[in-house]
Amino acid sequence: MAQFRATVVVTLQPDVLDPAGDATAQVLRHMGYRVADVRIGKSIEVRLEAEDRAEAQALAHKMAASLLANPVMETFSVQVEEL
């Protein structure tokens, strides 16, 4: 068994409203930045055990699909590195 760090980035689907992103963009504009838009997602780091990298990737993918992201409004990507 080896240790891996999986980083699951969860983002809202493009058509889903992101009020937090909109409000943040608004304030950035008030601060003088030329911002078209802001979308706020999550970056979730999971340290897990697996036989190998492929298994770690598969496990993290399963965690993301079943718990970390809500498929009706979010999408996710998974990156794995060995520790």
Binding site: P19, A20, A23, T24, V27
Partner: protein, 233 residues
């Protein structure tokens, strides 16, 4: 006495705060988040609410508003008394007018409850509020866990900045009395003329609402300002 109630888009305890001050005989002036000039006010309250929806982090977006720079200037130049309640406390911390940060409650959920608070350090800002006094006040927040970076806790206590703490009903300090995971049960801090607390004194203005201790706290603040400025109210 001119007390400013400073609102941001999404503030929602401003009416309650205005009502509370009015009941104590002060007619506050409302000041919006774009205000540039606070030179004519004697004190300012940042009421609770969800400024900018509490999006990103509670208080973070409001801390960028122009009025914060005006407050900063008045605090620096003439020690303007400033009181931040709940979201107002979060804004002051995000603006670095108070140390530390307010993080999501330890239990991960919003918490609304009646809570006993102890005055850990008396302050001339709150005239007549004695060390060791207990106050029963409502709390209502999702991000109320007070956090200090390593090493700062001793400084906050050492410099008499640790103002209020969550305690049990009989006044004892222990972890079970901590409603949100705040470091050292801290419910409020004071630095210079700036004070912040998570509980809501403006909601505890009469026995029929559950407690009148909030009136005591706000009255102490007004008394502190009058004595300091020699104002007749």
């Amino acid at each position: 006495m001119r007390v400013a109630v400073v609102t941001f888009p999404g503030s929602n305890c401003d009416d309650d705060t205005v009502r509370a001050l009015t009941a104590l005989g002060v007619s506050p002036v409302r000041v919006g988040h774009r205000a540039q000039d606070l030179s004519t006010v004697d004190a300012a309250i940042l009421p609770g609410g969800f400024s900018y929806g509490d999006y990103l982090r509670g208080g973070a977006l409001a801390a960028q508003a122009p009025v914060i720079e005006s407050l900063r200037a008045e605090v620096a130049s003439r020690q303007l008394p400033v009181l931040g309640i709940c979201n107002g406390f979060q804004i002051l911390a995000e603006a670095r007018l108070l140390p530390g940060a307010l993080r999501p409650n330890r239990q991960g959920t919003f918490r609304s409850a009646w809570q006993t608070i102890r005055v850990t350090r008396a302050s001339p800002l709150f005239w007549g509020l004695e060390e060791g006094e207990l106050l029963r006040l409502p709390i209502a927040h999702g991000e109320g866990a007070y956090y200090l970076p390593p090493g700062q806790l001793a400084a906050v206590f050492g410099n008499d900045q640790a103002w209020l703490q969550y305690v049990s009903e009989d006044g004892l300090l222990h972890t079970e009395a901590n409603p949100n995971g705040s470091v050292a049960n801290l419910a409020g801090v004071i630095v210079g003329s700036v004070a912040g607390l998570m509980p809501h004194p403006e909601r505890a203005m009469a026995d029929y609402l559950g407690s009148a201790d909030g009136a005591r706290l706000l009255q102490a603040w007004l008394s502190g300002i009058s004595r300091r400025d020699g104002h007749a109210r």
